[in-house]
């Protein structure tokens, strides 16, 4: 039973199966209907709850496993030795007495020892010292304090589902878990005031405005959403035809019309789409303001790139875009430029944020509207093909000319003539 580090590695594994068997026995012993009869033992004044007598244990074991009483006694003694049951009166003797001496169940002592083995010695040391300290008091006080502590831990034990501290690692150095009531000094109050002031100053949008914007967003993006308006040419998950994915790949020579239309919704959409960005770069090249977009891209790379590259990247960006007389000098206003130059002395990944934002707004307000009116864009829009359904038939009376697969968002419609369901059926729709 000793936790001996010099134990050969084979034996822990050999011990496990029989520990598990013992555990099963102990669990069945605690079963409220069929287990050992638990009583509350009454000593002269106090009542001990949840105790079992040695005799009950032996009888139960003999009955359950149909063995002789001697064997049951031995089995019970093994259980006590391993710490599953402990005697209440005489905690020093690990012997099962087949009489009225009370016993109680507990978590396997061995397991506990293994789990907290690194603090076991400290626990024992502290316990001994605490007992010696307690001896300095009157007996009555000792009793009261001991009961008080027991009740405290009984009340404050974690609820059944809480993670056990023996399974988690100890949270070292996390001082955030403390709820000490510190005195409220002037410092504390100034911080509170600052926080409340900032909270008041947050921009708030009225829900009417907000909801209108939400509705207009849904209206605008509705036809572009494959779940809401079905996807052309056909839903690959249903028809096993991946033309949809091929045609909407990030870099494809001929973007679909829907995609090109989406670039017109907002500048963000345009920049997020790689094809859109490429065409925008071409347009800017024609207008001789391509360095703006290059600068913006370089800043993005800095923000999301590797930490080790940050100093070199900042240097490169400065040399190429920000230094006076640089090859591709970007036009930033003086205040932002001052702040950026100051920040460049201690470069980190967000040091170019102000400049990046300035350039972004410049492009958005200036170049983007011109791009949308430009020939490049109009040409793309005209060229982009509307995706046709596979096996297209012209039926002027079909209610859903564009959809070839049932959209889950639509309500079920009445049965159409078999001619109309022909193309749909042709795609293998169930």
């Amino acid at each position: 039973m000793a936790a001996d580090p010099a134990r050969p590695p084979g034996s822990p594994r050999a011990q496990m199966p029989h520990l598990r068997k013992m555990e099963r026995v102990v669990v069945s012993m605690q079963d409220p209907d069929q287990g050992v009869k638990m009583r509350s033992q009454r000593l002269l004044v106090t009542v001990i709850p949840h105790a079992v007598t040695g005799r009950d244990v032996v009888q139960w074991l003999a009955q359950k496993f149909c063995v002789s009483e001697e064997e049951a006694l031995h089995l019970g003694a093994v259980l006590v030795l391993h710490g599953y049951i402990y005697p209440l009166r005489d905690p020093r003797s690990l012997v099962l007495r087949p009489d009225e001496t009370p016993y109680r169940f507990q978590e396997c002592y061995d397991r506990l020892h293994k789990k907290i083995s690194h603090v076991w010695d400290l626990v024992l040391m502290q316990a001994r010292e605490q007992l010696r300290a307690a001896k300095q008091r009157r007996k009555g006080d000792r009793l009261v304090i001991a009961f008080q502590e027991q009740t405290y831990w009984l009340v404050n034990r974690p609820p059944p589902g809480a993670p056990s501290v023996l399974e988690q690692g100890p949270e070292r150095g996390s001082r955030t878990a403390s709820h000490v009531h510190m005195t409220k000094s002037a410092d504390f109050y100034t911080r509170e005031i600052e926080y409340c002031r900032r909270a008041l100053g947050r921009t708030r949008v009225k829900s009417s405005v907000c909801l209108e914007a939400y509705l207009s967003f849904c209206d605008q993006h509705g036809p572009h959403d494959p779940l809401v308006s079905g996807c052309l040419p056909s839903n690959p998950w249903i028809s096993d035809d991946d033309a949809y994915w091929v045609m909407n790949a990030p870099t494809v020579a001929a973007p679909t019309k829907l995609r090109v239309e989406r670039w017109g919704f907002s500048f963000k959409e345009l920049l997020e789409d790689p094809m859109g960005r490429a065409h925008f770069m071409d347009f800017l090249g024609k207008e001789f303001s391509g360095e703006n977009l290059s600068f913006w891209e370089a800043c993005e790379e800095l923000r999301y790139g590797a930490q080790a590259q940050v100093p070199t990247l900042v240097d490169a960006v400065y040399q190429q875009f920000l230094a006076p007389g640089a090859a591709r000098w970007v036009n930033i206003d003086s205040r932002t430029m001052e702040r950026t130059l100051e920040g460049l002395r201690q470069p980190h990944r967000y040091v170019l944020d102000a400049a990046q934002l300035h350039i972004y707004m410049l492009m958005k307000k200036d170049s983007y509207p011109r791009f949308l009116k430009s020939d490049i864009y109009r040409g793309l829009l005209a060229e982009a093909g509307i995706l046709l359904e596979t096996k297209r038939r012209v039926f002027p009376f079909t209610r859903r000319p564009r959809r070839s697969s049932p959209s889950p968002a639509l309500l079920p419609t009445p049965v159409e003539p078999t001619a109309a369901s022909g193309p749909a059926g042709g795609d293998g729709v169930a």
Partner: protein, 235 residues
């Protein structure tokens, strides 16, 4: 030898922490008083001194690269015990702060809980400070200033723990327990089983001591009765 010194310091810290824990349990109860608060302050100051001394010794030893493996293992074991002690001390100090703030002693109507603890705790404090007896007289508003000090000291101990963690890296899983799981129950040295159980033991069943006392009493009573009868006969 460094090891003995560290062990002695650690034992002292252990004893003081245990006494402090015991004293904190009665804060806010019926035995609370300014004296108790003063005893608490003295005990925790002693504990802190010991902690600082142990910390510096152990850190100095463990940061020394040229330490033999088994010596290092020994010191690591002491380190783990020491950091556990510090954690307990910090938790007890926080508890004292919470309870002390919740039960102010200088308010006109003292809102103390009637826990039934009546005796003095000077014995425990004397044990903590390793003196024979302790006689303290605290002023009427000792606890107010004491609370502020306590707050500062809690933060100090927290900082000490953090510094300790930074300076020395001791993986706790490498430390194994020295004592077998049931050994403390079989040992006859040191404190016996919990006083609660022993009290129950004495209350239940047939106690030879009680029987002896009863017999003696009966004998004395008989002798007294016999003497009285003789006196009555003679007179």
């Amino acid at each position: 030898m460094a090891r003995e010194e560290c062990k002695a310091l650690l034992d002292g810290l252990n004893k003081t922490t245990a006494c402090y824990h015991h004293l904190v349990l009665t804060v806010g109860g019926s035995a609370d008083s300014q004296n108790l608060r003063q005893e608490l302050q003295k005990t925790r100051q002693k504990a802190q001194e010991l902690a600082v001394a142990t910390c510096s010794r152990l850190t100095a030893v463990l940061r020394d690269r040229g330490l033999a493996a088994d010596e290092r293992a020994e010191f690591e074991r002491l380190w783990v015990a020491f950091s556990g002690c510090l954690d307990l001390l910090e938790a007890d100090m926080r508890r004292a702060l919470d309870l002390g703030a919740a039960f102010p002693l200088h308010a006109p109507r003292r809102p103390l809980v009637c826990t039934g603890v009546a005796g003095a705790s000077s014995g425990v404090a004397a044990r903590a400070l390793s003196t024979r007896s302790l006689r303290l007289e605290a002023e009427g508003d000792f606890d107010v200033a004491d609370l502020r000090e306590l707050e500062r000291e809690v933060l100090q101990v927290g900082e000490m723990i953090d510094n300790m963690e930074m300076k020395v890296n001791v993986p706790r899983w490498t430390v194994q327990a020295r004592q077998a799981p049931g050994a403390e129950l079989l040992s006859t040295v040191g404190a016996g089983p919990s006083s609660v159980v022993s009290v129950e033991e004495r209350q239940g069943g047939f106690d030879p001591r009680k029987a002896l006392a009863a017999i003696l009493f009966a004998a004395v009573l008989l002798a007294a009765v016999a003497l009285a009868v003789c006196v009555a006969k003679l007179s």
